[in-house]
């Protein structure tokens, strides 16, 4: 039974209020096509887990779909701040649980390992633990050391965009894997979008994502644009600038664009 489905169907599976982990890092290989469809389907109250996010998170903010973010960095790097996210937080519409990228990873690892919390070495001198409540302390029963810990973050869905996938869910990422393989393991369910969907008999490379962990596979050409998906395309500067100059207008266009897949 093929796991391949349409973008519409895959997105329809995500309920309002879901906790999503989105793959990629900054403007690279993030599941933009998936996020656009979340917007078209007018999902509400989503929470997002991300190490470093950009367009994916900001689009959800611009569309009023975003309730909370667990992340280390949400911004457009040299393009500037994430305008919709920033405004949403400033208005109090979006709650930020500011993590270090490393503590996002630790929280996902707790879910991978089936444990309620994960220790990590960090946050010494930072005010984030008391400001966010995301970091607490435990005494090591072996050494007596005070150790920072974060709570498990278990995404309802992890969504990653990949170069190649097959109908069984196996997926191949060319080059930088970013935090995708960790997010895949941490999730209750996984959705893979891909630039290309091939037959599982025809692999010539070794996919890093084993199909049995994956729920849905969706063909999404240019699925990370205007971000990059190496080696197929780089950041589309004009596309990113156009978005940042008029986020709401961009969202309107997304909603008007009926998709036919």
């Amino acid at each position: 039974m093929s796991k391949q489905t349409s973008l519409k169907t895959a997105v329809a599976a995500v309920e309002d209020g879901a906790l999503l982990a989105l793959g990629g890092n900054a403007l690279h290989r993030s599941p933009v096509a998936f996020v656009k469809e979340l917007i078209r389907q007018e999902k509400k109250n989503l929470s997002v887990i991300k190490t470093a996010g950009a367009l994916d998170v900001d689009l959800l903010a611009a569309a009023q779909s975003l309730k909370a973010v667990y992340g280390g960095y949400i911004g457009f790097e040299m393009f500037g701040l994430a305008q919709s996210y920033r405004k949403g937080v400033q208005k109090g519409d979006i709650t930020v649980y500011e993590h270090a990228c490393a503590s996002v990873i630790a929280a996902l690892r707790a879910s991978i390992y089936g444990i309620p919390f994960q220790p990590l070495n960090g946050f010494q001198g930072s005010e984030l633990p008391e400001l966010t409540g995301e970091v607490r302390y435990v005494t090591c029963p072996f050494t007596g050391e005070k150790t920072a810990v974060v709570s498990a973050l278990r995404p309802d869905y992890t969504v990653i965009h990949t170069n190649i996938a097959d109908e069984k869910g196996n997926a191949f990422i060319e080059g930088a894997v970013f935090e995708d393989l960790i997010m895949v393991r941490a999730a209750k369910k996984v959705i893979v979008t891909a630039e290309q969907v091939i037959d599982s008999e025809s692999w010539t490379v070794r996919p890093q994502v084993p199909g049995f962990l994956v729920e849905h596979v969706v063909l999404a050409e240019n699925g990370a644009a205007p971000g990059s998906c190496a080696p197929l395309y780089s950041i589309d500067k004009a596309g990113v600038v156009a978005y940042l100059q008029n986020c709401e207008g961009f969202v309107e266009k997304v909603k008007e664009a009926e998709i036919h897949v």
Partner: protein
């Protein structure tokens, strides 16, 4: 002084601070560190290990992205992988030598704020967040911070929020270089760039500026440095923070 020269000074100063054999990381929005690491590896630090978000070890990118320091081009030329999660772990277990980091605000102890202007819960400006800083700054052996502006709003006596604190060793600005003093853990002025002066720095810094016990005259940028810098970054990605 032109922005070109400011960026060159900062980039070359960063490169000079990298020691041979060190394991060096930069994260997002870090065009000057990305170039500086390549420069150091062509000069005095040939066995320095270059680590970055796309996960290649010792990449030698053919070009840089002017938009992103997480771009997969920064994996080019690497022969093995060490993804971001591994880099954080390396730092956490004491194996990362240098982390290049920045903040919207930096205080006199080398702590930084990239969380918000105003309060955390009701920010005037929500900033992007510290990315790796809160985990890296206390665990990497040496934090090298930089700012592309040097004014009292950026170099402050008191941070709105302490996003990260720890092992900041140097802070580089367009005007000069601060180094943390071992005496009291405060930043003191370590070098002044040729375009600036002690007075200019004092007038534009929000915390008290005293000379560091190891204060040096900034050695002039050499022709070799400039020439290699130009060959590494012919498109001027290092200037992108000044545009």
């Amino acid at each position: 002084m032109s922005n070109v020269q400011l960026a060159d000074n900062i980039t070359i100063a960063m490169a000079r601070l990298i020691k041979d054999g060190e394991r060096v990381f930069h994260g997002v929005a870090s065009p000057m560190p990305a170039v500086a690491i390549q420069l150091a590896k062509k000069l005095h630090a040939q066995t320095a290990v270059y680590l970055s978000i796309p996960g290649g070890v010792d990449a030698v990118p053919a070009a840089f992205s002017s938009y992103s320091s997480a771009d997969p081009v920064l994996r080019e030329g690497s022969i093995s992988d060490f993804p971001l999660s591994d880099i954080f772990d390396l730092s956490a277990r004491g194996g990362l030598d240098v982390a290049f980091l920045s903040g919207a605000q930096i205080d006199g102890y080398g702590r930084m704020n990239l969380s918000a202007i105003g309060t955390y819960d009701q920010p005037k400006v929500r900033l992007p967040g510290g990315a790796g800083s809160a985990a890296l700054l206390p665990t990497a052996k040496r934090g090298i911070l930089w700012k592309t502006n040097h004014d009292k709003r950026s170099l402050v006596e008191k941070l709105d929020i302490v996003t990260a604190a720890g092992n900041t060793e140097f802070v580089i600005t367009p005007l000069g270089i601060f180094k943390k003093s071992k005496e009291d853990g405060r930043l003191r002025l370590y070098a002044i760039f040729p375009n600036s002066s002690l007075q200019e720095i004092q007038e534009n810094t929000g915390f008290v500026v005293e000379k560091h016990e190891e204060f040096i005259e900034f050695p002039p940028v050499t022709k070799e440095e400039l020439s290699i810098l130009q060959s590494i970054d012919p498109n001027g990605t290092r200037f992108s923070e000044f545009k």
